[in-house]
Amino acid sequence: MVTAAGVDDLVLRVDGSRPPSAAEVEAVQRLCDRAEDDFGAGVLVVYASGAPLPGWTRTLDVGLVTKWERTVRRLERLGLTTVAVAAGDCGGIALDVLLAADVRIAAAGARLVVPVGGDATWPGMALYRLARQGGARGLRRAALLGTPIEAEAAASAGLIDVVTEEPGGALAEVAAAAAAMPGSEVAIRRQLMLEAGQQSFDEALGAHLAACDRTLRRAAAS
């Protein structure tokens, strides 16, 4: 029997005003451990809010940044559906996890903020995800100059799925859909989608056929 995680089971609150830290890395890793150990379907919910203050990079070194980026990558490949709910200004580590989530819900008035770190915008993997996911349409000013992206513009660019006054309702809808989908299978679909942009049809065909075969075997066994 697969246990589905509901909206209150696996919750991460990421305060984007804080820099990446060992404690943040640990918190996300422990939540991913719990997700993998205890749940076979459902959602992991990230509440993302806050943007870095000037000087936020002072406590950083590239070793810590490496650990943080690896941790976000683990979240991005998790065997569950991940949902981010953004409110207010959302930058730094809050933007990192938002852009790694499967479904992104923005409260009205939310803004995505590429923070300035040192003398220019922070060049972490959020920049990579912005370029990949938003196709760089209208995002260059944000990426290069740190101009905030309003929620509606982020939705137009494909970075946000829904902008709403009632994030709770949108979240409940996603959770209901995700409860019926085995997380392992969601992860395979997500991986195929992530790779689709980087591979030709013929390169991708084998992996899709292997996934189809897996689905047929699961159906035959159930």
Partner: protein, 343 residues
């Protein structure tokens, strides 16, 4: 560790020209293999410039010549890599599936290289692409019983000596895939208070998919009068469908999750089987970069393929002390073998 190849690499398009293959279906098998080039030793052209199939006797002689030549070189490269000499070698386990000879490769290589004739030895013959891990398992046992003594697993496969040229799709699938190469890996168990660098083997897991016992075969073809390899088109999916069973068994009791594995060294069996393993184990393209790279540059090298990937990982220098890795091979039986290692 060390590797070696023989002859000059030949691209898939060059090979199609050399073999005079015009059938568009067969050509597409070669050209969609995700292989750029392979090392092969082809039969010399006859008076008409055609490459005639070699009789089984010539293939066996070719196997002996190439396997000893490449194997000796890989062994010496391996010993050089670990700062050892031939006189340090205490156990040699040779692995091959592309030919049969008695006395076996271990005896011939010991004689040819002038290794101490008291050297303990074993030959693993005919187990196929998975056999490198079967050998590693056996030699890890020998090593545990002989702490401080040097043992080597030497996989040496002359796939050029396992070719049947009959124009059929069955042989085309095989001929489009395999290449020649040898790889050796040194093992040593720590004596008391003498820890050594390099990864440690923690555990093995094996799985025989008995219902697919006929799906990969290297057996006698009476019509051709030689051994011929057969690969069931379904085998990539069968391997993929069973991969989770084996990884779950490997990690059971270790306290490790799949997401704790930093490095995956998967046998470069072919594009389809790599795709199936990637999908079913939830791996990324990055996880199999060396598997795919070895396939592209060498084709399927049978038992030594995963060691070519291991060599590339070592050259990358990205492993950190404490990192976990999984070695995975698959082959006839049908079988999946895995080993868990920690750097």
């Amino acid at each position: 560790m060390g590797t070696a190849t023989t002859g000059t690499p030949i691209s898939q398009t060059e090979l199609l020209d050399v073999l005079g293959i015009d059938d568009p279906k067969v050509r597409s098998v070669y050209l969609n293999s995700a292989i750029a080039a392979r090392h092969l030793t082809l039969p010399e052209p006859d008076a008409d410039g055609r490459r005639r199939p070699e009789p089984q006797g010539e293939l066996l002689a070719k196997h002996e010549r190439l396997a000893i030549e490449m194997g000796g070189q890989a062994l010496q490269n391996c010993l050089k890599d670990v700062g050892a000499s031939l006189s340090d070698l205490r156990h040699l386990c040779c692995v091959t599936s592309t030919g049969f000879l008695t006395p076996g490769l271990s005896a011939r290589i010991i004689k040819d290289l002038g290794i101490d004739p008291h050297c303990s030895r074993a030959d693993i013959v005919g187990m196929g692409c998975n056999a490198g891990l079967n050998a590693l398992n056996v030699v890890a046992g020998w090593s545990a019983a002989h702490p401080g003594e040097l043992g080597v697993v030497l996989c040496t496969e002359a796939c050029s000596a396992a070719y049947a040229l009959d124009g059929s799709m069955r042989t085309a699938v095989v001929n489009s895939l395999f290449g020649d190469g040898a790889a050796a890996v040194a093992l040593i168990s720590d004596g008391a208070g003498e820890p050594r660098p390099g990864p440690r083997i923690l555990k093995f897991a094996s799985f025989l998919i008995t219902e697919a016992i006929e799906a990969m075969r290297y057996d006698w073809d009476s019509d051709l009068g030689r051994f011929s390899f057969f690969l069931d088109p379904q085998i990539p999916y069968v391997v993929g469908a069973n991969a989770e069973t084996v990884i779950d068994r490997l990690l059971a009791g270790t306290g490790l999750r799949r997401s704790d594995i930093a490095h995956w060294l998967v046998h470069s069996g072919g594009k389809k089987v790599i795709d199936a393993v990637v999908v079913n184990l939830g791996l990324s393209r990055h996880d199999v970069r060396h598997t795919v790279g070895v396939l592209r540059d060498h084709g399927n090298l049978s038992s030594g393929s995963f060691l070519f990937s291991y060599e590339r990982l070592a050259e990358e220098g990205v492993t950190e002390p404490g990192d976990y890795g999984v070695l995975m091979t698959m082959g006839p039986g049908s079988t999946i073998e895995m080993a868990l290692v920690q750097w």
